[in-house]
Symmetry: C2
Subunit: 342 residues, 2 copies
């Protein structure tokens, strides 16, 4: 290969994305928001907006078939897809599913995958309206595109948070990573003991394993926000981990953030797994992704109002001036910068 060959690994996917999105390209005047938020936003009519988002899952990279039942995979892919629409304070309407399928996979496996897709479709009221099915000589690659809608007066971006706003997080975080740790331990056990017929005892870990394999997107939050006429100032879903999402939201809003470690919402089952693994559960909460919870910001006053109608969220901190940076107050009372966390 020539000297000019530059691997993607050497520059990283973010730098590659930056290169690609810097090209001179056609701009559609109806496009309000392109790459850079949870979903693209396109003007539809005077008071309505179209949302589009897309994800790809690669066998052996994004999922491991050893411990991922295919109906769970299908379910999770749809949950994660619609979660990006909810994260814009929108509602999903339809999905397209694209598969590149190796022939070593059976008809039953693909049927299982679709059973999971349809199950999540029902729970999120989205129809599978199309897609593509291709043979692959290598591994399974699944892409999903989601089409949704939002209203002009309630669409919520990553940008828009105000200084002083409370940072709210639904449900609990770190559970999906705890589930992954358990599944990876089981896989290692199977590999070392070579007896695949012995089914793992996952009963004790049901909560975290479900968080990893069949996560639910937070449609309920969006429904209640709409019903109560409350619009968050900014919003993002938690797929890459709390620290990453707080940073993205703060950057977009051109603000800093101040977080209380003691306020992180962590399930008791997640704590138990971390204890068993002799790991720090706060790291699960801060860096574990895939929880599909929603982070949103609201003024203190609105929080007081909203909590009367919806109780499954906590305030983990507040937005501060950009100059104050990204900081966390630890349980011991120390203040650490996000830069020192990773």
């Amino acid at each position: 290969m020539s000297e000019s060959f530059q691997t993607i690994q050497s520059i990283g996917s973010n730098a590659l994305l930056k290169k690609i999105t810097n090209f001179d390209a056609y701009k559609n005047k109806n496009v309000i928001r392109s790459i850079g938020d949870d979903a693209a936003v396109i003007k539809e009519s005077n008071d309505s907006l179209i949302l589009l988002t897309s994800d790809t899952y690669v066998e052996g990279v994004d999922f491991d078939p050893t411990y991922t039942p295919f109906h769970h995979l299908g379910y999770k892919i749809v949950s994660a897809g619609v979660s990006d629409i909810y994260a814009m304070n929108g509602m999903p309407e339809a999905v397209l599913i694209n598969l590149a399928v190796p022939n070593r996979m059976s008809v039953q496996m693909i049927e299982d995958l679709y059973k999971g897709i349809y199950a999540a479709g029902k729970n999120n009221e989205v129809e599978v309206v199309g897609g593509d099915l291709k043979a692959n000589h290598a591994n399974l690659v699944v892409s999903i595109s989601v089409y949704g809608k939002a209203e002009n007066d309630s669409i919520t971006y990553r940008k828009g948070a105000n200084e002083g706003d409370a940072i709210c997080v639904t449900g609990d975080v770190g559970g999906a990573l705890a589930g992954l740790r358990i599944l990876m331990r089981e896989k290692k056990y199977w590999e070392e003991h070579g007896d695949e017929s012995v089914q793992p005892e996952l009963g004790d870990y049901q909560f975290v394993v479900k968080r990893q394999l069949v996560p639910e997107a937070r449609r309920d939050l969006i429904e209640i926000l709409k019903k109560e006429g409350i619009v968050p100032t900014s919003m993002i879903d938690i797929t890459k981990g709390l620290v990453s999402e707080i940073s993205a939201l703060s950057d977009a809003s051109e603000l800093g953030a101040y977080i209380y470690q003691a306020a992180l919402p962590i399930a008791v089952e997640t704590r138990q797994v971390a204890d068993e693994m002799q790991e720090d559960v706060d790291r699960y909460a801060l860096f574990g992704g895939e929880d599909l919870e929603i982070m949103f910001t609201l003024s203190e006053k609105k929080v007081e109002e909203f909590v009367k109608h919806f109780s499954d969220f906590v305030v983990i901190g507040r937005m501060v001036a950009k100059e104050e940076g990204m900081k966390m107050q630890t349980a011991e009372g120390d203040v650490v910068s996000f830069d020192d966390l990773s």
Copy 2:
């Protein structure tokens, strides 16, 4: 593997699709047309419709990097994607691009791919509004989703043709297959002679190679139809070959078709390749796919009107009663059934 293991090959992808689409699934009341046409159709407002379509391309299955420059691949993927929107008499607005990229590919290769994507985006006035970029340890898999719009009073489906309607085809067909035959011959030559530094002499075959590598979608047809206020009774784009598309359109319209072999639009360059390969050029025209031309039906009267404004199409036959089946009159005057063609 257990006795119940059923390979996808053993039942075929059509049977698999049928199994999958027969599952009990959520139906969105706004979805007018789901799987089964060139694009899904969703109600937007009183006079406007949303179109969604999606395709996947697998390295080594759908494209061969040996003779496919990546900027051509990017261009073709967008052309083929928007062609499905034009085939509904709609206009594309935006695309999402999903990549699973092996690390052996360089930054430059992905940049080239995107240069082609953006070039076709400009020509078709679509913006790349998002997507996903994932690592793959195996081959390159590219998915594209296209979002477009159509009007309630001009959307055109595969169904809708009337008995007696003329079957019209834009441009010429069989050229993309002729180009593929040339590229495959060149590849064989390289493999046998082992000298990749010798660039092939493709100058003589420029027309057909372009038809294969950088096909243009027929935006011009849709623009002129709109300008002249003419709405075809049915429409489909030619991606799987003429015989396949005529059959799909006739099935959807619950009619038969009668085709004149002598009327098939074949470029002189395509004939030359077939001659050189000692193959039947009519088979290229009937079974070669990927031309991205549009087949549409119009009453005889409307054809007379339309031809005054647009000349790049020919009438290749007419729609007949379902009972008359699918037939072609050969250049020699014999009448053969489509069933005897393949």
